[in-house]
C-alpha cells in the first residue's frame, strides 16, 4: 500500500459535506440576484406602462357640447346664391353670434337659471368651435337656412373639469372660467348636453395653438414621421444591405476593411444630436434643402440608422452556415449567385428584423430633429402629395410630444402622455412585425 498525498475523507453520499453546502448556497444566491434583477426591471416596466396609460388615456377622450345651431342664411350667405366663394368670405367672427344665440336658446329651452350673458356662455366652447362650424357649413352648403344639431369642442377647462383635472378650488384665479360657468356645465352635464367621448381628431388632427389644447392632434406629426420613415426605408435599407453584402462576402480582409468595420461600430454609438448638427450643416446650410422638411429629417435619420442596419445585416449574413456557400460554389454558381440565390434569402429574416428595429429607433428619435427645425408649432394641414409631404415643414411624433410637454397648459401635458401612447403603439406594432417575420421566415438547415 502506497500512501496517497491527499487524504480524502470517506463519507456517506446522503450527507453533504461543507464544500458542497457552500457551493450550493453560492448557486442559490446567484439565482436570487438574477431573479431580483429581473423583478426590478419588470417592476419599472409596469410602473412606466401604468403611468403612461393612466395619464395618457384621457387625451383620447374630449368633452363636447351639443347645441342646435340655426344656420341663418342672412348671416352666412348674404347674397343668397349659395356660391361657395361668397360663403367663404364669412369669417369665423360671422359664426360666433350664431353660436352664442344657440347657446342662449339651449339654456332657455332647458330652463336652466343662470346670470351668464350669452357671450360668457359661448366662452365654454372651444376657441376652435367657430372654425369647426365654418368648416362644416363650407362642406354642407345645402344646410344653410336650417337648424342643425352640432357637437362643439368644449374649451380645455371644461374638459379638465369633467376629467377632474380642474376643480372649483383650482379656478379661483383662472381667467378662463369661473364658478358660475361651472354651474352651467353641471346643469348641461345633467341634461346630457355636455358629454365626454372618444375624440378621433386627437389621432388624425393637426397641432393647435397654445390657447386651444382641446383641438390639438397628432395626425400631421404622424404624417411627418411617416414621410421620414419612407425616406429612411428607401435609403437605409438598400445602402445598408449593399454595404454589408460587400463587406461580408466580397471585400478582402485587410487593414482597410478592419478600419471601416471599427468605424461603422463607432458610428452606431455616436449621439444622435451629432447627426442632427451634421444634417443642419450639410443638408440645410450647404445643400439648401428646406428647413423642417421630413426629407431632411429622413436623411439625418438614415445616417443614424445605417450603422444599425449594417451591423445586423452582417450578423445575419455571418450566421448563414458556410456549407451553403460551399454547396452553391461547388455546383458552379458564381460568388454573386451564391450570395443572391442562397445566402441572402436565408439572411433575409434577420435583415428585415434589423431594419424594422432600426426604423423603430429612428421613429422615436427626437434630438436630431431639434437641430433641423422639426420641433416647434407646426399646424399645417396634412400634405396631399408625396412631394409636398417630403418638402413642406412638418414635425414628427416624438417632436410633437416634446412640444406639448413643454407648453404651460396642463391640458397639453395630458396630450403629451396621449401622444406617447400613440408612439408606443407604433413601436410595439413594428417590433411585433419584426418578431413575426423572424418566426415566419426562420429556416433551419
Amino acid at each position: 500500500m502506497s500512501d496517497t498525498p491527499v487524504t480524502k475523507r470517506k463519507g456517506s453520499l446522503l450527507v453533504q459535506d461543507a464544500r458542497t453546502i457552500k457551493r450550493n448556497r453560492a448557486e442559490k444566491r446567484f439565482q436570487m440576484y438574477g431573479i431580483a434583477a429581473i423583478s426590478i426591471g419588470m417592476l419599472m416596466l409596469v410602473i412606466l406602462l401604468t403611468t403612461i396609460i393612466a395619464r395618457g388615456t384621457g387625451a383620447f377622450q374630449q368633452t363636447f357640447i351639443t347645441l342646435n345651431v340655426p344656420l341663418l342664411a342672412e348671416k352666412l350667405d348674404k347674397k343668397g346664391n349659395r356660391d361657395l366663394a361668397d360663403i367663404k368670405k364669412v369669417s369665423t367672427f360671422g359664426y360666433a353670434p350664431l353660436m352664442q344665440a344657440a347657446f342662449e336658446a339651449k339654456v332657455a329651452e332647458l330652463g336652466i337659471e343662470t346670470d351668464l350673458k350669452p357671450k360668457k356662455m359661448a366662452a365654454l366652447l372651444s376657441k376652435d368651435a367657430a372654425a369647426q362650424l365654418r368648416n362644416f357649413v363650407l362642406e354642407n352648403t345645402d344646410l344653410i337656412g336650417e337648424t342643425v344639431e352640432f357637437q362643439f369642442l368644449a374649451q380645455s377647462r371644461v374638459d379638465g373639469y369633467l376629467k377632474q383635472r380642474v376643480t372649483r378650488d383650482s379656478i379661483a384665479k383662472d381667467k378662463n372660467i369661473n364658478a358660475t360657468q361651472l354651474d352651467l356645465v353641471d346643469a348641461l352635464v345633467a341634461s346630457g348636453h355636455v358629454v365626454k367621448k372618444f375624440n378621433l381628431d386627437f389621432i388624425i388632427g393637426s397641432d393647435a395653438s397654445d390657447a386651444r389644447p382641446e383641438a390639438a392632434g397628432m395626425g400631421t406629426a404622424m404624417m411627418g414621421s411617416f414621410f421620414m420613415m419612407l425616406v429612411v426605408l428607401s435609403l437605409a435599407l438598400p445602402i445598408g444591405v449593399a454595404a454589408s453584402i460587400y463587406l461580408e462576402e466580397f471585400a478582402p480582409k485587410n487593414w482597410i476593411t478592419d478600419i471601416i468595420e471599427v468605424n461603422i461600430s463607432n458610428l452606431a454609438a455616436v449621439p444622435s444630436i451629432v447627426f442632427g448638427i451634421l444634417g443642419l450643416a450639410v443638408f440645410i446650410n450647404y445643400m439648401h434643402l428646406p428647413n423642417s422638411a421630413p426629407l431632411v429629417g429622413g436623411l439625418v435619420l438614415t445616417l443614424m440608422t445605417l450603422p444599425t442596419i449594417i451591423i445586423t445585416t452582417r450578423a445575419s449574413l455571418k450566421s448563414v452556415p458556410p456549407s451553403i456557400r460551399d454547396a452553391a460554389l461547388g455546383v458552379g454558381a458564381s460568388k454573386m449567385q451564391s450570395v443572391f440565390h442562397h445566402v441572402l434569402p436565408l439572411a433575409a429574416p434577420g435583415i428585415l428584423t434589423g431594419t424594422i428595429i432600426g426604423l423603430a429607433q429612428a421613429l422615436g428619435e427626437t434630438a436630431p430633429l431639434l437641430l433641423i427645425g422639426m420641433v416647434g408649432f407646426i399646424a399645417s394641414n396634412p400634405p396631399e402629395t408625396i412631394a409636398e409631404g417630403l418638402m413642406s415643414p412638418n414635425s414628427a411624433m416624438p417632436a410633437q410630444i416634446y412640444e406639448w410637454a413643454k407648453r404651460a397648459d396642463p391640458a397639453f401635458y395630458e396630450r403629451a402622455w396621449g401622444g406617447i401612447i400613440i408612439l408606443l403603439v407604433f413601436l410595439i406594432t413594428m417590433n411585433a412585425i419584426a418578431v413575426l417575420l423572424r418566426r415566419r421566415f426562420e429556416r433551419r438547415w
Partner: protein, 255 residues
Amino acid sequence: MTTNPVKITARNVQVYYGDNHAIKDVNVDIEDKTVTAFIGPSGCGKSTFLRCINRMNDTIDICRVQGDILIDGEDIYDRKVDPVQLRAKVGMVFQKPNPFPKSIYENVAYGPRIHGLARGKAELDEIVEHALKRAAIWEEVKDRLNAPGTGLSGGQQQRLCIARAVATEPEVLLMDEPCSALDPIATAQVEELIDELRQNYSVVIVTHSMQQAARVSQKTAFFHLGNLVEFGETDRIFTQPEDPRTESYITGRIG
C-alpha cells in the same frame, strides 16, 4: 488491371496557408473512369489537395497554390480559367450533407438552371429525374419532389447532394469524406453509388476509413504531413506497401 486515360495531372503542387506549407510538391496522375481514394491521417493535406482540383481554395484568402494541375491537359490555374466554369466541370460533394434549404427538385435543378443546360421545364424535369436516378435516390423521393431537401435523412441528403453534383454533367466528381456523417447503412448505399458513378466519371474521394478506400477505390494515394507518400493500385497499397510510413498507417501505428 486495365489502365484508363489520365484525367487529372498534378505537377509539383505546393499549397501554403499563410506561412504553413500544407502540400509539399505533389505529383499525381488521376485516371478517368476510376475511383481514386486519398487516405492519410488528419491534417495530412488530402482535403486541401482535393479542394485544389476545383479551386475551392480560392475562397480562402490566405491560401496560395503553386505548381500545375491539368485537367485534360489544360492548366486549371491558368489566368484565363474562370473558376466558376471549372466547377461546373468538376463537381464536389462535401463532408457534411449540405442541401440547399429548398425543395428536393430545386436542389437538383439549381445547377442545370444557372448553367443553362435545360431549355424549358420538360427538359429540366428530365435532367432532375436522371440525376436523382443516377444518385439512386429517385425511388425514395419521386413522390415528394417539392418537399424540403433538408427534411430527408442524412444518407438521403448526401445522395441528394450527389444528385445535385451530377446534374450539371461534370467530368470529375470530388468527394470530401462523403460518408463521415452517415450511419453504416447509408454509407453502404453511398459506396455502392460511388462504384456506379465510376462508369461515367473520374471520382476522387477523401476518406478516413481505410476499409472504405479498399472497398470503393481502384487507386489509392497515401498522404502524410503534406507529402504524397505513395500512390498506386489500391490492392497493392493495402497488401504490399512500399513505404514504411504507409505500412505504419494501414496497420494502425500512425494515424
